[in-house]
Symmetry: C2
C-alpha cells in the first residue's frame, strides 16, 4: 500500500462547550446557581465559540436545570461567544426567547425507541413539534440548531440507518434550521462511519452548519473527532472534564472531554480559539463544583510538552561522560 | 473545503500483545509464575499475531520478570502466534536464545536523557550494544525487532527530532533488524505527527516491518492508531486492560488497551485475527491477576452493538400508538 503523506483538515475549528447543560443535567448533585454562574463565566473567559448554557426544560423532569432563566440572566456574556440553550418544546422555546439566547438547540432521536424513552414522544410527534419550533424561533429571529441523537447507533435498536439520519437532517434544514448536530449519544460511532456520514452530510447539505457531538464511551472519541475533521467538519461539541453520559446506556462514559479535544487540536496546529491553560484551571475546579472526582486524563498528565526532572542519580551516574 | 469521501487503510492488521511484559513489569504486585502462564495461555487462544511474553532482564532490576525462562518454557505455544521476548543486553540475549523465542525485541531511546534514565547507558553505548546483539541474534537465526522509545516526544527533553528517529531506524535496519517499533513511550504523539512519521518511515524503509506502540495518556491512543493505519501501518502494539506506563512520567497512563483497539478495528471491518469476546474474558480476569482494579472502557460499556432493554414504562406509555 502506498503511504498517504499527510492527514489534512480545516485550519480552524469551533468548540461548543456543553458541560453546563449536557453535563450538569445528569450530575447527582444539583449545583447551586451561584456556582453555575461562576462556572459559566470562567468557561466564557476560555475563548469558546459557543457555550450551551442550560436547558429550558421542566424543572420536574430535570431539577438540576430548574434555574435556567436565572442563569441565562446572571451569566456574563462575552463578545465572541454564542450562548445557546436547549429547548425541548414550544413552552420551553417561549421561556428561552425571554432569555435572549444567541441560538436555540432542539433535539430528537433518529431511532424510535430512544426518542420515546428520552423524550416521551414518538418520532413523528417530535418531528412535528420541532418543525413548529423552527417556525416560531424563525419568527423571533433566533437561529435554530437541531441535535439528532443516536445517529451512529442506538442503545436499544443497535444500528441506525444513514438514510433515516439524512432524511431528518434534510427535513429540518429545508424547514430553516441553520445547523444540525450529529450526536453519538452513547459512544457507538467509529472513525470510518463518522467520516462517511460527515462526508455525505456535507455533500448533501453544504449550506447547513454541521456540528459533531461525540462521546468517549469506547475510547474512540478523539479518533472520531479526527475522522470528522478530515472530512472538513469544523464544529465540535465537547464537555469540560468529560461530563455527561446517557441514562439509558449503563456503563457509558461521558462526552469527549473539551480539554482533550482542544489539546489535540493545539498539537495538530489547528486553531480552536480556546486557551487550554485557562480551561484546565476550570477543570481543576470541577470536582468542587459537582462534588465528585473528575477523571480528566489531560489534567492528570498535563499537555504533551510538560517535562519532568530526570532522576536525581542521573548526573552522578554519568559524571565525566559526554 | 471539499469533503474527503472515506478513511482508507489496510484491510488486515496484526496486534502484538505486550501486557505480559510491558504491563506486568511495572505492576506493584509480582504475579506468580503459574498465574502468568495461565494469562499467557489465555492470550494465546485469542488469536494474536505476536505476544511479547517477557523480558530477559536482571531479576534485581525488574523482580516482576525474574521467572522469564520458566515462563517461556512453560507457556503453550499456539501455531500462528509469534512469541517475542525483550532483551536488554548480550547476556539477556544468551538467556533468551535458550528459550527459543520466535523473535527478540531490543530497545533504546531516541532521546539521550530518557535512554540514560531508563537503560543507564548513553545512546552511543546502547547503539553499540544493539548492533552487537543484532549480529549475535542473526548468527543464531533469530529475527530482531528494535523498539525505539521516546520517538514522538521525551518526558525530559520535550520534542524529539524526526531526523534522529530516522537515523537510528536506518542504522538498525541496515544492520539487519527485520522490524522497527516506533514507541510513543509517554503518550506525547498526536495524529498528524504519527501520520507524517509513519509515512516517512515507510517511504525510507519499505522493507523494514514497522510497528507502532501507542499510549493513551492524553486520550489520543486510538486517534493515533487510525492515523498510522491510514498511512499503511499494519502492526500495532497494545496491552490488554491498558496495562503499562512509564515510571519517568508521573500521571501517564498505560498502553493503548488491546480490547479498545481490536474493537475499533472490528467496527471498521479491519481484520485483526483476535477474538474480541475471548479477549474480554481475559481482561475480566485481570483484576484478580494484578490485584487491583483495571479500568477497561470497553469491558464496562461492552462492544458497540450491545443493546439494552428499554425502560419498563415505555410499552404502557405508548400503548395504542403506532
Amino acid at each position: 500500500m502506498s503511504a498517504a503523506t499527510k492527514l489534512r483538515g480545516p485550519a480552524r475549528v469551533e468548540i461548543n462547550e456543553v458541560a453546563p447543560r449536557d453535563g450538569l443535567q445528569i450530575e447527582p448533585l444539583v449545583v447551586p446557581t451561584d456556582a453555575k454562574v461562576a462556572f459559566l463565566d470562567a468557561l466564557s473567559a476560555c475563548g469558546f465559540a459557543r457555550i450551551e448554557a442550560t436547558s429550558l426544560t421542566s424543572a420536574r423532569a430535570i431539577p438540576a436545570l430548574a434555574d435556567a432563566e436565572a442563569l441565562m440572566h446572571r451569566m456574563q456574556r462575552h463578545p465572541g461567544v454564542r450562548y445557546t440553550a436547549l429547548v425541548p418544546n414550544l413552552r420551553g422555546l417561549e421561556r428561552a426567547l425571554s432569555c435572549r439566547p444567541d441560538e436555540v438547540n432542539l433535539v430528537m432521536s433518529v431511532s424510535e425507541t430512544h426518542n420515546r424513552a428520552n423524550l416521551r414522544m414518538t418520532r413523528q410527534q417530535s418531528q412535528d413539534q420541532l418543525l413548529a419550533m423552527i417556525d416560531a424561533a424563525g419568527a423571533a429571529g433566533v437561529p435554530v440548531n437541531v441535535s439528532l441523537s443516536t445517529v451512529f447507533g442506538c442503545p436499544f435498536e443497535a444500528e441506525v440507518e444513514t438514510a433515516a439520519v439524512m432524511a431528518l437532517a434534510t427535513r429540518f434544514a429545508d424547514a430553516g434550521a441553520a445547523g444540525i448536530t450529529l450526536c453519538d449519544t452513547t459512544g457507538m460511532a467509529y472513525p470510518t462511519q463518522v467520516a462517511a456520514l460527515c462526508a455525505q452530510f456535507q455533500s448533501a447539505l453544504p449550506d447547513t452548519g454541521l456540528t459533531i457531538h461525540l462521546h468517549n464511551t469506547r475510547g474512540m472519541g478523539l479518533a472520531n473527532a479526527v475522522a470528522a475533521w478530515q472530512t472538513g467538519v469544523t464544529r465540535f461539541d465537547a464537555a469540560a472534564g468529560g461530563l455527561g453520559g446517557c441514562p439509558y446506556a449503563p456503563g457509558a462514559s461521558g462526552n469527549v472531554s473539551t480539554e482533550d479535544l482542544v489539546h489535540m487540536f493545539d498539537c495538530m496546529g489547528v486553531e480552536t480559539g480556546v486557551d487550554l491553560g485557562a480551561l484546565l484551571d476550570v477543570v481543576a475546579g470541577m470536582p468542587a463544583l459537582v462534588g465528585r472526582d473528575i477523571h480528566s486524563q489531560l489534567l492528570s498528565a498535563g499537555p504533551r510538552l510538560r517535562t519532568h526532572q530526570p532522576p536525581a542519580w542521573l548526573a552522578e551516574h554519568f559524571a565525566g561522560q559526554p
